[in-house]
Amino acid sequence: MIPTLGHFALALALAIAAAQAVIGLFGPMLRDRILLRAAPALAIAQFLMLGAAFAALVWAGVVSDFTVRNVAEFSSSTTPLFYRITGTWGNHDGSMLLWCLILSLCGATVGVFGTNIPSSLRSRVLGVLGLVSGGFLLFTLTVSDPFRRIWPPPLHGAGVNPILQDPGLAVHPPILYTGYVGFSIAFAFAVAALIEGRVDAAWGRWVRPWTLVSWVFLTAGICFGSLWSYYTLGWGGFWFWDPVENVALLPWLTGTALIHSAIVVEKREALKTWSVLLAIATFSLSLCGTFLVRSGLLNSVHAFAASPNQGLFILVLLALTIGGSLLLFAFRAPGLAATGVFAPVSREGALILNNIFLCVIAAVVFTGTMYPPFVDLLFGLQLSVGAPFYDQAVLPLTAPLILAMAVGPMLPWKRGAIGPALAKIWYGAVLALIVFAFVLFRGHAIAALGLAGAAWVIVGALVDLAERVRLFRVPPGQSFARLFTLPRAQVGAALGHLGFGVTVLGIAGMTLRVHTVTVLHPGQSVDLGGYRWTLDRISPAQGPNYQARRATITVTRHGRLVMTMRPERRFFTAQKVKTVAAAIRTNGVRNMFATFAGEDNSGGGEFRFNVHPFAPEIWLGGLIMALGGAISLSDRRFRVGAPVRSKLRKPAGSATV
């Protein structure tokens, strides 16, 4: 019963989305007040319907309704409740529904909070969202129906893929999808602006917070995904340049470019055509990311099994969405003229530099990802593009980005000079040089470059903040007070840059990692990274739906106990699948990593031990970046509908921005 209601709600959502598209897009042409008001209401209704459909699917999972194929195949009566819930989106059809739910949530958010947007623009934005949503709902309903029934139902379900049975991964798709799908709002704004033929400073101000929200989620999502592969797969790597990772990185790169270029649109009314193109490109890349991998076109460990028929449907949808918007762009963009003029050395210039490098990196990653299938298509050659290509191609592009990143925020708008900006961060340069020389002296050239770059960016971000609060120029108390009266967008931006520097620190630290693979019998030990790792025993252990072999390893340093680690090998009885649960310990600036790879007949175990200096900083940096975005989002300019706050206390000598 409940799944049938869910199915019905899904169908209703499709009808509402169609209405939202037609009324949203054509309402403004008729200049009908009632039609203009209809779009937000329809967007909210669509979200409620999809919410009901999604709740029905979750309900079927919770009560283990095995007449629903989705539940029978990806859940089982022994699956813990948490994974019965999260299992609903751990498969192709369910994740499609989640995808549509988030898309409708985006529309509903615009409907509820977008009250400061002119009603015709808002109506068109919602119309575009309804059109996209309708297409994907049609796909879900016809060829990827999560409510498909089977009869007779199996007694026990097949169970969740054990590798997905992990709290980190369970919450990862919703966060990542919110990031991906959130860019649909920026896309809809771009298309609506093209329809209206007008992009101005106000457009930049409206589009930026929405972009920032999805950027925050995407940053956090990529961060989670990387962390998950780091600790679950037990390989000790954090980024594999796997197609799935690449397609998540692509919209992140162009999205990052967009949040920077939208500033220029907002402040200076320049880069308008470019920002519109970026908005279209970012969502297009998100779509490609979600669907090209699913269609099975790209070879990846993450691919869902999907038939080529679904792939064709998706391709047509992508062609209509992306092709349609770019067609509109080709016709309307020539009419968008830039008004703001600026010198090459200026804040705008620095932001353009940022955009160029981010987009070139995106182009490189895109090429690397798409190269194998296309070379196969055109020349019949089979090849794979691996980490060495990306490392060699992306590193040289990141270097100038890092160099410019610290200087950019120091430059004034319109026209600036490099000299005074550099003078502000000379100690960053000195620190970077010291770090470089120190690490190079110890024989690690790549690490030296990376750590120096990290030091440069981090100092740059801190100096930026210090300058803004006039640290050491006014009494410390006053500086501290200024920190809270600063526009939050500035604090957020500085934090974003700081986070990036911290991530660079982590990645550079990872190049200094040491590891060993060894067979140990109980009582034996091995030395690695200044630690002594001793195997105490291997014993059986019991999990909720798996059996495990657990190794107990004591780690000592100079004879003193540092920690005890318990890596496991798990055997999931229902699916007959083995997984490896690595033991990871961190102290904030380095990770210790023990993987239990196998057992031999003589009672010995094969182990992989890793010491990763600065590894936690990779994800800490990501979180700081996301936090920076969130703080920037709370800036007063973006708090829609918030009353203008009276100046609390005007700090002495206030002259910022």
Binding site: L292, S295, L297, L327, A330, P334, P373, L377
Partner: protein
Amino acid sequence: MDTPRVSRRLMLGIPLAAVAAGGIGFYALLERMRSGAYNPQEFNNPLVGHEVPDFTLPGVDGNQGFDRAALIARKRPVLVNFFASWCIPCVGEAPYLRAIAKSGLDIWGIAYQDKPGPLALYLAKYGNPYRRIASDLSGRVAINWGVYGVPESFLIAPGGMVRWHIAGPLVPEIIESQLKPALRRLS
């Protein structure tokens, strides 16, 4: 319209053109996936398109063994199937192998690292679709064939050329979408 404006128009059309080209490419890829000519998930065996490597394997459990010469001498296609009694996916593909054998394509099995006792039990329990079964007890022949794991099957054309290969069980989807088209191409 003056020239700079025209060139600006052309420039802003570039994204559309690029996406159109990409879309056509993806469509071609999808079509090739459907016809079985392209499989991104596949670890392609280097043997495909080459003659079978040199080997001689004894028969097992009363079945006739075979060697490279026997494969080359054949006048009709044959499916060489690496399997083992200890392999769970092999049990899964067993009914489909029987169906393939019934449809007229000969299957020659190579029992990978398997002992005669368990093998006889396996064949008794899950049926014997094989015309010949050779025993690769050491697994050395499997290495020479580049076998990734069991089950793994190779379609050998008359004359001993490897024409198609699948790592993993032969399930109806793959039989329909890949094996049958490959067979059609042979005849």
